[in-house]
Symmetry: C2
Subunit: 182 residues, 2 copies
């Protein structure tokens, strides 16, 4: 987010057909909950289009790109790497350390979110393997809770630039307005 070291999300692996919506939701969740960028595998072009379309309509800044070398992105990342996995250390035990690296030491953070089986070198390359619970559930859910904890809710207050439209929060009903820039 604005004025903070970059937080990027890397979707690792994508099974066409099966993973379309999960990969799209990883990208949209990254955007909505404060990450600056997402990389999506290059066989998930439709997910990329959806994330870019939402960014065009609802604002940014947010960067969505394809990659043909996800492991290259991990290797070349200049900052710290968090790999979300149900086998990792408990998020409540390591989040303070990750926040210190991001907030105090100004380290960019790359969050790796696997699809199916993740190869062992990713576990070794990561600075932290983190479990948002050690239960099987959803990579989208794990990413969401991790981002909300990393940013401590600041992501809910962010403003969006260059939006065409914005939703006005309401007790009952739906209200969408054109987002006129002042």
């Amino acid at each position: 987010m604005h004025d903070e070291p970059e937080v990027a999300v890397l979707r690792l692996g994508h099974r066409p057909g099966r993973d379309e919506r999960m990969t799209t939701h990883v990208g949209l969740t990254a955007r909505a909950l404060g990450a600056d960028r997402v990389w999506i595998p290059d066989n998930a072009g439709q997910s990329l289009e959806t994330v870019r379309d939402i960014t065009d309509r609802f604002g940014g800044p947010f960067t969505a790109e394809l990659t043909d070398s996800p492991k290259g992105i991990i290797r070349d990342w200049e900052g710290r790497v968090v790999h979300l996995t149900m086998y990792g250390e408990r998020v409540q035990d390591v989040e303070a350390e990750v926040k210190r690296a991001h907030g105090d030491d100004d380290e960019p953070i790359l969050i790796v979110v696997g699809a199916e089986k993740v190869s062992f070198d990713v576990y070794e390359e990561a600075d932290w393997n983190v479990g948002v619970t050690n239960q099987p559930h959803s990579e989208v859910a794990g990413l969401a809770v991790f981002l909300d904890r990393l940013f401590e809710g600041r992501e809910l207050e962010r403003e969006w630039d260059d939006a065409d439209q914005r939703v006005i929060p309401m007790e009952t009903g739906k209200r969408v307005e054109p987002a006129d820039e002042e």
Copy 2:
């Protein structure tokens, strides 16, 4: 969770084919992040099986059931109803009120998570329409953040009964052990 008023999740709507994994992930996220129960539409039998299979292997208590009358469940719910929607009030503005109802007034909470378009009567029936951001992203992500905030992280400390296996948190690697009851 144990010793607290019930928290249940209702998946509203399911488009076979398109929504299989989203509905499954709603159920698994409900279980992993502290809800006591999920209702799934009766055209999503495969999602039900997956959630029950995970509960058998990794423990409970957690109840997963099909319903042919989701709106009946909302109508008959004896407690408060939260409908998660990007059009709703901001979670950071209403979560204290929901927590008070659950924690101080011992009210069971039903969390409604829509698939596609949700009809207007659900907005009216709900005690709170809540947006985990007013941005389009993922119902799984919204549910996850909402549960983590409702339980204030207590859900991460819960223990699981009657599990066959459990994951031991690790810095690097995977460790799964048989869950021998003492």
